[in-house]
Amino acid sequence: MANTPEELGYTKDHEWVRVSGEQATVGITDHAQQQLGDVVYVELPKVGERFESASPFGSVESVKAVSEIYMPLTGTVEEVNESLNDSPERVNTDPYGEGWMIRIKIENPGEVDGLLNSIEYEDYIKEEAAE
C-alpha cells in the first residue's frame, strides 16, 4: 500500500504539495513512484521559471517510461532539488522527503483549496485501479 501523509495536498496527476506560508514544496507521491519503478533520471526546471497550474514543469524517467510532472499550483520556481541529478533513486526511497523536486512561490493562494486531501487522494487511487 502506498503511503499518503495526512498533512500534504495532492493532485490527480500524483504530485504532492507541502504548503508553508507563501511557499510550496512539490514532489511525486509514493503511489506514483511505485507505479514508475526505479527512477533513473529527473529533469527539473530552472530557478526563476514560472508555470501555470496543471502545466508540465519537468519529467521523471524510470527504466521503462518517461512521465511528465505537472505543476499543482501556479507559481515561480525558487529552489530545485539538485541532489536528484546524482541520486534520482531518492524519488523511490523517500518520495516525501529527500525525493522532493521543487519549491515554488505560490502566486494564487486560492488554488491551495483545490488540492485533494490524503483521503480524497487515496480514494482517487482506488478508483483509478478499479478502472
Binding site: V40, Y41, E43, E61, V63, K64
Partner: protein
Amino acid sequence: MLKRTPLYDLHVSLGARMVDFVGWHMPVQYAGPIPEHMAVREAAGLFDVSHMGEIEVTGKAALELVQRVTTNDVSKLDDNQVQYSTLTNESGGVIDDLLVYRINAEYFLLIVNASNTDKDYEWIKGHNTAGSVVVHDTSGAWALLALQGPRSERILQDLSDRMLDRIPYYWSQWMQVDGVNCRVSRTGYTGEDGFEILCPADSARHLWNRLLVTGQDRGLVPCGLAARNTLRLEAAFRLHGNDMDETTTPLEAGLGWVVKLNKGDFVGREALARQKAEGLKRKLVGFEVLDRAPARDNYKVAVDGAEVGHVTSGSYAPFLKKNIGLAYLPTEHAAVGREISIIVRGRSVPARIVETPFYKRERKFD
C-alpha cells in the same frame, strides 16, 4: 483477448506487473528492472519467454528448405547445434531473426519472435515447394524458460541428468530436467552464460517453480521483459521490430556474420550481394549519451544540427550505469568515436558512437 503463457497465474501470484506485449499478457517486472538486471549479471534470473514461436521443419529436404529461407549456412550445423540467423525477403529485408536448432538431418526447430510467428510460418510454408517437407507451427505445445546468469549452470545441474559443462555455447541436448523431457540449449538474450529450456507446455509450471526453489539460495530471481530488454541492449543484441525490420537488411543491422553469400542460393541473396558490392549507405551503430538524460526509442539523432537518423533502441543501462542506444546513421557519420546529438524533448544532448557490444562478459566457454 490477450494470450497467456502456461505460467500466467504464477506471474500474477508472484506479484509481477503484467502488460500487453504484442498480444500476450506478459510480466514486465517483479522486483523491478534494475534489481532483476543486476541479478542476471551477478547471479541468475529466470524468464518466461513462452510467447516465442516454435516452427518445426521435418522431412528429407528439411535442410534445403531452411537453407533456402535463412541467411546463415545451415549445412555447417551438426546434430544438436544451434545457429543464429535471419529470415529475409527478396529485397534482403529482415522478416525476423531466429535460432535454428538442428535436431537431426531431417528435423529442424526454429525459434522465432512472438510477434512474427504467424508471418514466419506462412512465409516458410510458402517456400516449401519440394513436397517432402512438413512445416508445423508447434508454438502451443511448448513453453520456453530462459535461465540466465553466471550461476545458471550450477542451478540447472542440480535438476538435470546430463553434464551441462559438456554443452558448449550454441549447442543443445535433450535431457531430463527434474524428470521432464526438455530440449536445453546454452543460448540466451542477455549477454550472460545461461540456458534456454524448451519444455512441454503442461510441465512449465512445475519446472518454473522447481527452478526458482532450487536457485533461491544462489540468488535466482524471476525476471520480466523490462530487464530482458536492458540486458539485451547492453549486449547489443538486436530487437526485431526496433533495430531491424523488413525495410533494413541484416548487413545494415551489423549482422553480416550471419549472411553467407557463398552458401548457394537463398531468398534475398541477390539483393544482399548487390548491397554488399555497392557498399552500405547506412548502418546500425551503438552510442553512449554524454548526459544524464536517457535516449529512448524514436528520439531523433542529429549531426551538425541536421537530422540524420533516429534511435531504434535506447535506455538507461543498469549494469554499465550509462545511457546507451542503437541508431541507424548514414555511413559517413557512423565511425566509432564520432560525436552525435540526441534530441531529448527539444534539447540537443551530446552522445558518442562507441564499439559494440557495450557489455561483454568474460567467457568461460566457446
